[in-house]
């Protein structure tokens, strides 16, 4: 590859220039110092300063040039770009060598550069959020140009099949329907089942661990519960599809009910098991930071331990418990592998958890793993679904953060 070789040569040249800068800077500083002048910094610091001002601007020029190349499609040959970058490096080397003087604060200069580099690294997390928003919104907008937003939100039929024909040049795609209601109904059904499993078990386990359990049980039980959160979701998906779903079909058959092998119950229950530690661990922390004076007051009034927990501790910890549940819920809504492997593919608007139904994340995966071209309506619909998913989980997270903040302010709990 021509470009690869060029890039390799460029890196080699830059490395050489950097080494040159380091040793030239250091030898100049050492020479000055051995001549007896008092200097503001150590020779090594001057050396690093020359290296930074050689490589820094050069890499910056290269990065900006590459970005312009990609973003604006400007036609600058890579060779010129890299050559320009090397010229900048050489200029930086000469200028900075000139700066190696006794009255120059090399250490402070390094400090300023490093602070900027670190701040730049911190900006990457912001870029990530913007990247997610930008990629989802721009593709979702392309989708909403093809299909109306209102139909997407309120339609009850999800049938992207015909858009495939349209992109293949047959038919006009008018038969394709993108009504997301059945997908969201399926998502909320499975999430609700998961929460029905996770909230009681998680909360009661947290109460046991913080109020009853001896220290030895606590130190064992907490990490063991965390194992549940560490198991990869693809493994849970296999477990749900191969082990849990047949059991549910058998049980339903015993009661004379007809269950699908892709029923909503199996992924829901397994997802609930996965979420238990999210809820138990945060609830445990919250219950622990309810002040002991409240327990003592309640016991002093003659309440039993159970009544104290039910009527005093849990109500006091309620904002934190709700916050934990909301976090768990947002986790369940966005969970993908369990539902991809264990839930159905058929959009199905029903209230019966024994039937197969599909979810938002399943459709996203289905739309993006097909053989369709990227601009087809079905592929783009994945981004529209992703946008809604992003907004819902973001809202849940924000509410959860606000609740926990209110709790923290009320009880001045600093460990949360």
């Amino acid at each position: 590859m021509q470009t690869n070789q060029l890039l390799l040569i460029f890196c080699g040249a830059l490395l050489l220039l950097g080494l040159l800068a380091f040793f030239a800077g250091r030898s100049k500083a050492t020479r000055l110092r051995s001549a007896g002048t008092a200097m503001f910094a150590q020779p090594d610091q001057y050396a690093w300063f020359t290296v930074l001002s050689t490589a820094g601007p050069a890499i910056l020029v290269g990065a900006v040039g590459a970005f312009i190349l990609l973003l604006l499609g400007a036609d600058i040959p890579t060779l010129y770009l890299l050559a320009a970058s090397l010229v900048v490096a050489a200029i930086g080397l000469v200028v900075s060598l000139n700066q190696v003087r006794p009255d120059f604060h090399a250490r402070q200069a390094i400090e300023r550069v490093i602070r900027k580099i670190l701040a730049g690294a911190a900006l990457i997390s912001i870029f990530t959020t913007f990247g997610i928003l930008f990629s989802i919104i721009s593709e979702a907008l392309r989708f909403f140009q093809m299909h109306s937003f209102w139909d997407f939100i309120t339609g009850t039929t999800w049938n992207p099949g015909a858009s495939f024909l349209a992109s293949a040049g047959r038919g006009d795609g008018s038969g394709a329907e993108f009504g997301s209601v059945p997908l969201f109904a399926g998502t909320f059904m499975i999430t609700a089942i998961a929460m029905l499993v996770a909230v009681p078990i998680g909360l009661l386990s947290a109460i046991y661990m913080s109020e009853y359990a001896p220290r030895s049980v606590r130190t064992v039980a907490k990490p063991v519960l965390e194992v549940l959160a560490g198991i990869p979701t693809v493994v849970y998906g296999f477990f749900a599809a191969i082990t849990v779903a047949p059991i549910i079909v058998n049980i339903a058959g015993f009661f004379g009910l007809d269950a699908s092998y892709n029923n909503a119950l199996a992924p829901g229950i397994v997802m609930g098991i996965m979420i238990i530690p999210f809820i138990s661990s945060l609830s445990d922390d919250v219950i622990n930071s309810v002040p002991d004076s409240m327990r003592q007051g309640s016991l002093a009034l003659g309440m039993t331990k159970g009544e104290t927990i039910r009527d005093v501790v849990v109500p006091a910890a309620l904002p934190g418990i709700i916050s934990a549940s909301l976090l768990g819920m947002s986790r369940a809504l966005g969970e993908t592998m369990i539902v991809v492997m264990a839930a159905g593919m058929r959009p199905n608007l029903t209230a019966n958890p024994l039937e197969d139904m599909t979810t938002v994340t399943v459709r996203i995966v289905a739309a993006l793993t097909g053989d369709q071209e990227f601009a087809s309506a079905e592929t783009l619909s994945a981004f529209a679904l992703g946008l809604v998913l992003f907004i819902v989980t973001l809202a849940l997270n924000l509410v959860s953060v606000l609740m926990i903040r209110r709790f923290r302010e009320k009880y001045r709990a600093n460990n949360l």
């Binding site: 519960l225 549940l228 198991i231 039910r310 991809v340 793993t369 973001l394």
Partner: protein, 388 residues
């Protein structure tokens, strides 16, 4: 309304019974969670352990002229239905490479096909009663035997169940994780150092903090959408490559590393910083020479846990196309590759019974690696953790 003492003591008894009932209920739910865990592991072990055993057949391979064009000629006709197709398929090529082998013969243990394997393990299979009886005879005669399944650890994926292995996926995982760590570790540590040690407490810093917490809670599949739209479609990173997957996972792991690094930095007491400032260090020198080395065990622990999380992640990798069928062990960061969770996902979609066992076997390998990583992190923390 007044109560007699008897009534009140009755009431008290009831209240205490209720109280102790709550204790048992809470204890029960913790036990239930533990029971799930035990059931889960028991289920995975019973399904997955047989995958590490494989049926082999003892046979005489006669390298004759016909076998050079038709590999089946090298084997006893009776044995052909129970020998794996992969063994038969390589014979002509082997002969073409070593022509002087023609005319010789040798006794060898070769792979049996998956139906025989499944029958011997007592699973569902498509063999008829006579075929099963014939195999039983051979087992009696010592011609068919169960042995440790090395193929599973030395091969890539295959459509022939007995020939499929996890090595390509393991190599893919290692390459993807190299990319992930190479990006996420420096950027994560630098961000955390900036936020904890350098950043002024202003709006900008607060926005970054809120943003990081929010990133940690975004569903992983959305990172896949980002990887597809930006890395692959915009920057032209090759689809399905460890580079694309690693970059996507790096963004996902970033918040984990940042948050744990910040905790580690915060646990270094201020007296260390004050002492270093006192002898004239600049802020960067304090961080580089004193704070970072002391916080390193905590940072490593957090990074290993983040790495283990990324290693088990599947959804974003499916979106960037890392579910490709990879029969050969990959060698490049820009070629198509697969990772362990994606391999498990692919196998779980295969209809053959033999692949159920492969899937569970792959899960056991993945879980073993993840558990050892986490255990290593815990040991690291225990060994180097300092209480100030």
């Amino acid at each position: 309304m007044s109560h007699t003492f008897d009534e009140i003591s009755q009431q008290l008894k009831r209240r205490h019974r209720k109280s102790s009932r709550l204790k048992w209920i809470t204890m029960g739910s913790l036990g239930l969670a533990g029971l799930f865990l035990v059931l889960f592991f028991a289920d995975m072990l019973t399904k997955g352990l047989p995958a590490f055993q494989q049926a082999y057949v003892q046979t005489e391979i006669s390298y004759n002229e016909e076998a050079e064009t038709d590999g089946r000629q090298a084997f006893d006709e009776e044995l052909l239905p129970i020998i794996s197709r992969t063994v038969v398929r390589v014979i002509p090529m082997e002969l073409r490479n070593n022509p002087d082998m023609i005319g010789t013969s040798e006794e060898q243990w070769v792979l049996a096909n998956s139906e025989v394997d499944q029958y011997l393990k007592g699973h569902r299979n498509s063999l008829s009663a006579e075929e099963q009886a014939a195999i039983d005879e051979r087992v009696e005669a010592g011609q068919v035997d169960m042995r440790f399944n090395t193929t599973f650890f030395t091969n890539g994926d295959s459509k022939i169940a007995e020939n499929a292995g996890i090595l390509a996926a393991v190599v893919g995982t290692v390459m993807t994780m190299i990319v992930t760590l190479a990006i996420a570790f420096p950027i994560g540590v630098m961000t955390a150092v900036y936020l904890e040690e350098f950043a002024p407490d202003n709006r900008f810093t607060q926005i970054i903090e809120i943003n990081i917490n929010n990133l940690a809670a975004i569903p992983s599949i959305l990172f896949g959408l980002l990887g597809l739209a930006i890395f692959i479609n915009f920057f032209g990173v090759p689809r399905s490559s460890p580079l694309a997957g690693g970059m996507t996972l790096a963004l996902m792991t970033l918040p984990v590393i940042i948050i744990s690094t910040r905790t580690a930095l915060r646990s270094v007491p201020d007296s260390i910083r004050h002492a270093a400032f006192g002898v004239g260090c600049s802020r960067w020198q304090v961080v580089r020479d004193h704070v970072l080395p002391l916080a390193m065990p905590g940072i490593m622990t957090g990074s290993i846990i983040g790495l283990a999380q990324a290693m088990g992640e599947t959804a974003p990798l499916i979106i960037v196309g890392m579910v490709a069928f990879i029969p050969d062990v990959g060698a490049s960061f820009t070629n198509a590759a697969t990772v362990m969770p994606a391999q498990i996902f692919t196998w779980s979609g295969e209809p053959e019974q033999a692949f159920v066992e492969k899937t569970a076997g792959g899960i056991l390998v993945l879980l073993t690696i993840l558990i050892s990583l986490n255990a290593f992190a815990v040991v690291l923390r225990k060994k180097f953790e300092r209480r100030w």
